[in-house]
């Protein structure tokens, strides 16, 4: 669809992923063996024919820019439209964005105003899914609502704090909204995807920021909806959506894609997930290796045993090494006879021979990029 542009917020939830986002954005966090979280967001937009996307980021964005580059993998390297990074201090605004509304207001003049598209899809990179956004926009236009939010059932559980949750009545209309709240199970969680007209978005951001309102969900969606100034529709997504908003969720969801139903719900025909090409050699499986129930990317050399784990590119698993329930990012090296269970190894970690590390499902052992143990 030519008439839609995208605005992606790359830093949302950075703070709740601890050391994994110390030196990168949540958007550039590796996921699923060969992806970064933002690959799903950008691919969903690209698959809907969106060819004009702004990526809002304000800190730790080196790895994000390196990964996304000019956007050519998503067909965003274009004469017109294409991909733009939106950062603070780059458009005459001399402070960090306190919330999405400030970021939107900041890029209003330079980016949104110059755009030709009538509709904007706002998204972040915390929820991993393959969604047909063309259907979402069509539903939004048909509904006549001011804003459509994409929601997912089965996420709210009385414990998980949600940015935005809605309760739907029998007609599918929103009957209640909750913000920053551990909503009960009958609420549907926002997937952070919103559709609205570009004009309305610009106007809203200007007004809100003028009144020191910067929190998109709380001070715009909820407030204006409650005041009867804004009509909001919900689009229920019923395929796989993985919310990676905490380290525990990130760990669990990485391992979840080992399950066929979840994997096939994420990698669907016609909704290809694109990523930066690294051009690695096919993985070599040695004579004595045993690899059961694993996700394995290219370029690995596997001589040991791995069970129920995700192995990113160029992982070296030595003879006699044992890995179970682990997420092992690119370029890690597991020494001879090492034993790992419930661990997250960030990139370039080296585990020496014989080292034993055992975490728990709730508290996996996390090693920082480049650690040597």
């Amino acid at each position: 669809m030519k008439n839609i542009m995208g605005l992606v917020f790359a830093n949302i939830y950075d703070s709740s992923l601890g050391q994994l986002t110390n030196k990168r954005t949540l958007a550039s966090l590796p996921f699923g063996g060969r992806y970064r979280q933002i690959d799903f967001t950008l691919s969903n937009l690209a698959n809907a024919g969106v060819r004009h996307i702004g990526v809002v980021t304000q800190y730790n964005f080196q790895s994000l820019m390196n990964h996304v580059g000019s956007g050519e993998e998503w067909d965003l390297e274009l004469e017109e439209g294409g991909l733009e990074f939106i950062t603070p201090f780059s458009m005459g605004v001399g402070n960090n964005f306190r919330g999405k509304l400030e970021a939107i207001e900041a890029c209003s003049k330079g980016f949104l105003e110059r755009a030709k598209e009538d509709y904007v899809i706002l998204a972040d990179a915390a929820v991993v899914c393959a969604i047909n956004l063309e259907d979402v926009v069509k539903a939004h236009i048909a509904s006549g609502k001011d804003v459509t939010v994409v929601v997912k059932a089965g996420i709210a559980n009385d414990r998980k704090q949600l940015d935005l949750a809605v309760r739907l009545d029998e007609e599918g209309e929103i009957s209640d909204m909750a913000v920053d709240y551990a909503a009960p199970e009958d609420y549907l969680a926002s997937m952070g995807i919103f559709v609205m007209r570009r004009e309305l978005l610009m106007q809203t951001a200007e007004e809100c920021v003028a009144h020191n309102r910067y929190r998109f969900e709380r001070e715009f969606i909820l407030q204006d909806w409650a005041d009867g100034k804004l009509s909001v529709g919900a689009y229920e997504f019923d395929d796989v959506a993985l919310f990676n908003e905490s380290t525990e969720e990130y760990f669990r969801n990485n391992l979840a894609i080992i399950e066929k139903e979840i994997r096939h719900g994420l990698y669907r025909d016609g909704l290809t997930i694109y990523t930066k090409v690294r051009d690695q050699v096919p993985t070599y499986y040695g004579e004595n290796c045993e690899i059961n129930d694993c996700i394995v990317a290219d370029g690995c050399v596997l001589l040991g045993t791995a069970d129920n784990s995700v192995l990113f590119r160029r992982v070296r698993l030595s003879t006699g090494a044992f890995v179970k329930n682990c997420v092992i990012m690119a370029n890690c090296e597991i020494g001879i006879g090492a034993h790992l269970e419930y661990c997250i190894l960030d990139k370039d970690v080296k585990i020496n021979a014989g080292v034993k590390l055992i975490g728990t499902p709730e508290h996996p052992v996390i090693l920082n990029r480049g650690d040597v143990v």
């Binding site: 694109y274 051009d279 096919p282 070599y284 040695g286 004579e287 690899i291 290219d298 990113f312």
Partner: protein
């Protein structure tokens, strides 16, 4: 338009029909045949060019060019999407006076003299699109220049008993060639030509024009052009190459070369650690799902696969699926092929986009006493449930 002068332009002969690869080249040019899990044969000479600092490559296509053209695209995967030079696909085309297919290897270059002239190169490197090897052409070009050679031909030592299958270069102690024999019955030496030539462009151009005017010529480098240059008294040198090199023009050599990429210390190591990397066009596929409970795997598996079955000593290419209870041994499974549950495949090459239905049996065990029989299933074939494909059978 005037271009900056290039030191060397590479011309890659990729027009061969590859009829000895049988069904695998029915709808595919030989250089586009998959190799090593994620590569195509042409990736090897192309990557060698890039790794040797050659940034201008002409690819001469003729037979089934569509797939190859699409694969090469703008050359971006090899870093050959340059504004000056880069990769150009050169099919035969209609000219104002006459139009014709490429009659032979030399004629293919002759028809593209104007392409080469645009870069005004010192030397032209002629390559074949059907060899698997890693080579630094820059070293060969340096050798060529240091010896002020008119033609330099890369050679490798082959076993003396096999020498009569090759073009043999008989050399003086200084490496200069005094005689060239095409498939001699009684070879004098075992310096076999690898089909890799560096020519001084001024010399090559002159002899290509002369060759074209000779109605009796087959317009072939090995048979006509090189003997003509040699007989005219020009300086020809042999350049020794010692690394892995394989002509994958037959089913058995293609199978062998694939098998030679396997093992902890393979004869041909695809891994680029510390050596020149082989580049390929990559497709957007997720990481593979692997659930192999068997021992003795010794396999290469590319991305986008789902493997549930038992696999031993095989190459499983990009986007394949191997069902539960399936057994694959000593075989090459080309990209995007589905092997259903309970299938048994031994000593076989299964082409791209095939479907092997439940319970089918392809090939047989190799006892080591007779010649190994490779079964072949051509591109996009469906092998029905419980169908049997005999050892050595070609479908």
């Amino acid at each position: 338009m005037n271009f900056q002068k290039k030191r060397c332009v590479a011309m890659l002969l990729a027009g061969g029909q590859g009829s000895r690869l049988l069904v695998l080249t029915e709808n595919t040019a030989k250089p586009a045949v998959p190799f090593g899990g994620k590569y195509r044969i042409i990736d090897f000479p192309l990557s060698n060019c890039v790794n040797s600092g050659i940034d201008t490559v002409g690819i001469l296509t003729q037979y089934q060019p569509l797939e190859l053209n699409e694969y090469i695209g703008n050359g971006q995967p090899w870093g050959l999407n340059r504004s000056h030079g880069g990769v150009s696909v050169l099919p035969p085309y209609a000219r104002s006076k006459k139009s014709e297919w490429y009659k032979g290897t030399a004629n293919a270059i002759y028809q593209n003299i104007s392409f080469i002239e645009r870069y005004d190169p010192e030397n032209v490197l002629i390559l074949s699109g059907d060899h698997i090897y890693r080579m630094d052409y820059a070293k060969m070009i340096r050798f060529h220049e240091e010896h002020d050679s008119d033609v330099t031909i890369a050679v490798r030592q082959v076993p003396m008993e096999e020498a009569s299958r090759f073009g043999i270069m008989n050399t003086n102690p200084d490496g200069s060639i005094y005689e060239f024999e095409e498939k001699p019955k009684h070879p004098k030496s075992n310096n076999a030509s690898m089909g890799i030539y560096v020519f001084k462009w001024s010399i090559l151009k002159q002899y290509l024009i002369a060759d074209e005017e000779d109605p009796n010529s087959e317009n072939d480098f090995g048979k006509n052009v090189i003997p003509a240059i040699l007989n005219a008294g020009h300086k020809l040198f042999a350049y020794d190459f010692e690394g892995y090199w394989k002509d994958v023009g037959t089913i058995s050599s293609l199978w062998e070369a694939n098998m030679e990429t396997l093992g902890p210390d393979p004869e041909f190591n695809l891994y680029g650690d510390g050596v020149a990397k082989i580049y390929a066009r990559n497709y957007a596929l997720p990481a593979s799902y692997i659930d192999v409970h068997s021992k003795n795997i010794n396999c290469l598996i590319a991305e986008g696969c789902e493997v549930y079955g038992d696999i031993h000593h095989s190459v499983i290419s990009t986007g394949c699926r191997v069902g539960k209870g399936a057994l694959i041994e000593d075989s090459v499974i080309m990209p995007n092929t589905v092997i259903e549950d309970g299938v048994i495949i031994r000593n076989a090459i299964i082409g791209e986009d095939c479907k092997v239905c439940k319970g089918a049996v392809i090939g047989g065990t190799f006892t080591g006493t007779e010649k190994r029989q490779i079964s072949v299933v051509g591109k996009a074939h469906v092998i029905e449930a419980n169908q049997v494909v005999k050892p050595g059978e070609v479908i």
